[in-house]
Symmetry: C2
């Protein structure tokens, strides 16, 4: 198909497709003339993957590239693909060391060790969690990392299920890596949305329980 | 304190503070001269709140303003404050209606109805979930909204606990609204980070189990 058809099939504007081609995120099509190329189903799929990382994951172009490099790298072990996705999703580390963050980081490390979780010291989740703890502390209250305990319990339940259920049978290695990356991005968003919805639900139940009952006249 | 001291206390640069003052996010200090004002502890707190919404929540300035308006609005019912936070965190709705999204939205609505959750039709989580479902479908596979069932179970457990435990006793209304907003933002991030960490942990356990055992020579 031509670039205009690729654009229609994916709802990605032609200038955006050209930008992804220049940036090397999208592999070039087969040349069919001086200024023409033919695109195939794999390009449709790749464009959808890029849009998912951009729109659902909110990833910057540089992070999309890092994730796509992981998908393309046939030598990367599968469990490393998860780490690449986590790194891309974590905000970049601040330049100057912050003593508050370092203290929170030590608390988070002790908390995770207490849970018995086997996690590398470089796991980006550690810093994201420390940043969250610093934010809580700066807004008031002497919070310890144990404030995260109920969340850790839910996260453990869901991750245990995810790792047991993935990979689906019969998938190729490239499909598995893509699933690890897409699953991290898409289900992060889904879990967040479901937490909001469940909050609204439980808040509605609670406010009903508190409302005094009235008899109809 | 002077603006330079406010900047030191919060690690927010003076030009950024002036920008927040111009935008009305930060209330003005008490005027002490033609070009001078005195800032108090409430300004320190407000700046930290803004930075949390910006850095931990990734909120745009317009969304920060919407959330702060909710914190400042003494007439807003507490359970509405949660909705304001959810709206600010959800990506803006796309302009043109997309039939794929509308179909996914109907599936998500049926799924939530099946769970028996009491959620308003305007809850932003519905659309975020529909977008996630569309992304999964476009990348291949005939996914139904039931793919979210294990996530809904975890989300239900955590939200039930959150609504039961909040509000902490003895807090003022403004503190409660702030807690609802900050809690949504900070624990979204914490839950995401904990899911990544738990994924790494369960992935490590799994890959160990699969590795063939070797005897030491």
């Amino acid at each position: 198909m031509r670039i205009s058809e690729l654009s229609r099939a994916t709802a990605v504007p032609v200038p955006t497709i050209k930008y992804y081609l220049r940036e090397g995120l999208l592999h070039p099509g087969a040349a069919t003339g001086a200024n023409q190329a033919a695109y195939a189903q794999e390009h449709v799929h790749r464009l959808r993957l890029i849009r998912t990382l951009r729109e659902v994951g909110g990833l910057a172009i540089a992070d999309v590239r890092r994730v796509l490099d992981a998908v393309d790298d046939a030598s990367l072990p599968l469990h490393r693909a998860l780490g690449v996705a986590h790194h891309a999703l974590a905000q970049p580390e601040p330049e100057a060391p912050d003593p508050d963050v370092e203290e929170a980081r030590a608390d988070v490390d002790a908390f995770l060790a207490g849970l018995g979780w086997e996690v590398s010291p470089e796991a980006p989740g550690r810093r994201v969690l420390a940043d969250a703890l610093v934010a809580l502390r700066r807004l008031g209250g002497d919070w310890g990392a144990e404030v995260f305990a109920p969340y850790a319990e839910s996260a453990d339940a869901i991750a245990s299920w995810e790792i047991r259920e993935t990979p689906p049978g019969g998938a190729t290695r490239a499909e598995l890596v893509e699933w690890a990356v897409v699953g991290t991005v898409v289900f992060d968003t889904a879990l967040r949305a479901l937490r909001w919805l469940a909050q609204e639900h439980h808040s509605a139940i609670r406010s009903k329980r508190r409302r005094p009952r009235r008899r109809r006249p």
